[in-house]
């Protein structure tokens, strides 16, 4: 499965069903063509799909249309292998990174000539950079087992060969070079001992790779660590001897999208397009569980628990990124006070408030919050990355703020950091002392920023979620889950009345009670039971005894849909008014204005702070809701 991560670029959103259609019709409307191509390139694409995007780019150029705001970049490619397949993949992948890439290919095998001749194809083209795609088969590697002197000579010759190519390109073409490390071949002639034995493939390549990395210091050239890529996916997967023999393909084409992605990442990084700020969701991302419902004792974080360790790894990784200059911020749907509690009081938390530049915990949509965070830090949205376990939040941010990078995450939190880091959002091509201090520079003790108005068209997004809501009275099948929700929900819970399963059964069977169990599914799957309602007959009125909802579906007009459903039944039974009550607890500030927002009229306030609300059934008009309704 992890191998698929790197084949399918699984941190990128999956391409939509109508991807081919979108490519075919991309040029039909001309507005923001560059951005639309960037979006098409932004999905996880295999070689065939990259080829499609490449064709769109070629058509755009042929028609004389602009690819703005993509940034033009010219890349020369010289290789000891077949590089014809590279240009389409690189050009399409570059669009994903906001780059309008033009590839200039050298003739096959003409590496040194291309570099040294001022009049060569590459040098004449005056590219911005040249990729020196040389693998171990393109260097004079001599097998001299046990011969230390010959080993040193071979390493020296290989490094000199590459240095000569780089110098030639600098002097004759003015380009900076992208220099590859060597992926070692799978085969070993001596076994494990090979690493200890001078003059073998393993020890030679090791020495050359270290020499290459060292030779970059003080130059403008950039390292592409192909050896690391190949080892990450597995050397036996990376090398495909059949296709090398057949067509001189230097590695398995399965990894062409990954290889192109890594090249384009460093080009984008060189152009200052890496992300500078990581915005973290809290519940089920930074810790396991929901702080508002589970409480400080209930959330899972820390050693000794598999899930707790997975989330600890997220914190460790965030702190590591901070050490190298990435600013950290939080965006969470929570009450501020409650969300800060683990940072202040939980002994196993590694992340503390002093590590965070901005701390946004409120009940607004995350697109609005991310915009506020970017503004506060004076960073562009294209410098932001957002990590959230919830696919609905991820997609909302992607749709409303396409410039923000939002990596996909798998179901298993143990793999969160693997996906985040595989996404390579924070690619660095250099490191300065300043980088190490940058996060501190932005620091202001987890400040919170005032929100501007909501960004983007939320309603259109809600419609695109294709939500299906189902309403059903309490029944035997649902009772266990209903009881669970009644006893667990703290945040979106108007009265926080707890009932045993036996009491729920009585409610279910009582003629004086109207009950609802509510389920919701959407394009991302089934959310299960997300809301529970109990109304009790009080003369001509209904008293809303219990109204609770899962915070996971907050901001999706589910409350409105539930109210419509209650009104529908109330009307048919001749009920005069709905009587709501909000009983404040430490955890349910979120719903203090619940009834006011739904149009209830304010009534009395008790001595203990409980507020009462009224809604006239007959005069309340019906409201449309962005979801399909089923009644069971």
């Amino acid at each position: 499965m992890s191998a698929n991560l790197y084949v399918n670029l699984s941190w990128l959103p999956r391409r939509p069903e109508n991807f081919n259609e979108l490519c075919r019709t991309a040029l039909d409307s001309q507005g923001e063509l560059g951005m639309r191509i960037r979006t098409l390139a932004g999905y996880g694409l295999d070689e065939n799909a990259l080829n499609r995007v490449f064709k769109v780019i070629v058509k755009t150029r042929d028609a004389g249309l602009s690819l703005a705001p993509l940034l033009p970049f010219r890349l020369g490619v010289i290789s000891n292998a077949n590089s014809h397949f590279l240009a389409p993949a690189l050009t399409a992948t570059a669009a994903r990174h906001g780059i309008d890439l033009e590839c200039i290919e050298a003739d096959y095998g003409q590496i040194l000539q291309e570099a040294l001749d001022p009049d060569s194809t590459i040098n004449r083209a005056r590219p911005d950079a040249v990729l020196i795609a040389i693998d171990y088969r393109g260097l004079p590697l001599r097998f001299t087992p046990g011969d230390e002197k010959a080993h040193a000579e071979t390493v020296g010759q290989c490094l000199q060969h590459i240095a000569a190519i780089r110098n030639g390109l600098h002097e004759n073409g003015g380009a900076f070079c992208i220099v590859q490390t060597l992926a070692r071949p799978v085969k070993s002639l001596t076994g494990s001992f090979e690493l200890a034995l001078p003059g073998t493939m393993r020890s030679l390549i090791n020495a050359i790779n270290i020499g290459l990395a060292e030779s970059l210091a003080g130059t403008t050239d950039i390292l592409l660590d192909v050896a690391d890529l190949a080892e990450t996916v597995g050397l036996a997967q990376w090398h495909d001897p059949t296709f090398w023999n057949l067509a001189k393909l230097p590695f398995s084409s399965l990894y062409l999208p990954l290889y192109a992605e890594h090249i384009c990442r460093i080009i984008a990084a060189q152009r200052g397009k890496s992300r500078r700020c990581l915005i973290l969701d809290l519940d089920n991302t930074v810790w396991g569980g929901i702080i508002g419902d589970d409480g400080l004792e209930g959330i899972v974080i820390g050693q000794g628990d598999a899930t707790g360790e997975a989330h600890l790894d997220v914190q460790q990784t965030a702190l590591g990124l901070r050490e190298r200059g990435i600013v950290l911020a939080v965006s969470s749907k929570n009450t501020d006070e409650i969300a800060r509690k683990p940072f202040r009081e939980h002994p196993d938390m590694l992340l503390r408030e002093e590590h965070l530049a901005v701390f946004q915990a409120n009940w607004n949509d995350k697109a609005t919050n991310i915009t506020a965070i970017a503004k506060e830090l004076s960073l562009g949205l294209d410098a932001m990355a957002f990590l959230d376990d919830n696919p609905v939040e991820r997609n909302l941010v992607r749709q409303m703020l396409p410039m923000v990078a939002v990596p996909e995450l798998p179901a298993d939190p143990a793999l969160y950091t693997r996906y985040l880091l595989a996404a390579g959002l924070f690619e660095a091509v250099a490191f300065s002392a300043e980088d190490g201090r940058r996060a501190e520079f932005y620091q202001d003790n987890a400040r919170r920023v005032a929100l501007q108005q909501q960004v983007g068209d939320l309603d259109a997004y809600l419609v695109s979620l294709d939500m299906h809501i189902s309403f059903q009275a309490f029944d035997d099948t649902g009772r266990t889950r209903i009881t669970q929700l009644i006893n667990k929900s703290n945040q979106f819970n108007l009265t926080t009345r707890r009932y045993s399963e036996e009491e729920v059964r009585e409610t279910q069977n009582s003629a004086d009670c109207f009950t609802l169990q509510v389920r919701l599914s959407d394009v991302f799957g089934d959310n299960g039971m997300i809301s529970v309602i109990i109304c009790r007959q009080a003369d001509e009125d209904w008293e809303i005894d219990t109204w609770l909802m899962s915070c996971r579906v907050l901001g999706r007009k589910v409350e409105m849909a539930v109210l419509q459903e209650i009104l529908l039944h109330a009307r048919s039974r001749g009920v005069r008014r709905l009587l709501g009550c909000y009983r404040p607890t430490e955890r349910n500030q979120l719903v203090a204005d619940h009834y006011a927002k739904l149009g209830f009229e304010a009534g009395a306030v008790d001595a203990d702070g409980a507020s009462h609300w009224l809604l006239d059934v007959a005069t309340t008009p019906e409201q449309p809701v962005p979801m399909k309704i089923t009644r069971l």
Binding site: N51, K55, F85, T242, F243, L246, L249, S253, L254
Partner: protein
């Protein structure tokens, strides 16, 4: 997998690789029939077939193929 299922998959693969929904994989189809079918796209085709059926071809097997009928027969022999 039946032969007709192989052809069904191949039709889908040809449409994907050559970006042409009107293509249908038939036994007589050869590289001469499709403009875009050159040595480079042939590699993509072979790779896409390998990936789809989870099989591997040798260089000799690929070199010998004359038409889609032979490709389908080779796939069938490997499944």
């Amino acid at each position: 997998m039946s032969v007709s299922q192989i052809y069904e998959s191949l039709t889908e693969i040809f449409q994907t690789v050559f970006d042409d929904d009107s293509l249908a994989a038939t036994p007589e189809l050869t590289a001469g029939d499709i403009d875009e079918w050159d040595s480079l796209s042939n590699l993509r085709l072979m790779l896409t077939v390998e990936k789809h059926f989870n099989i591997k071809f040798s260089a000799a097997e690929i070199g010998k193929l004359k038409n889609v009928g032979e490709l389908a027969a080779l796939i069938e022999a490997k499944l």
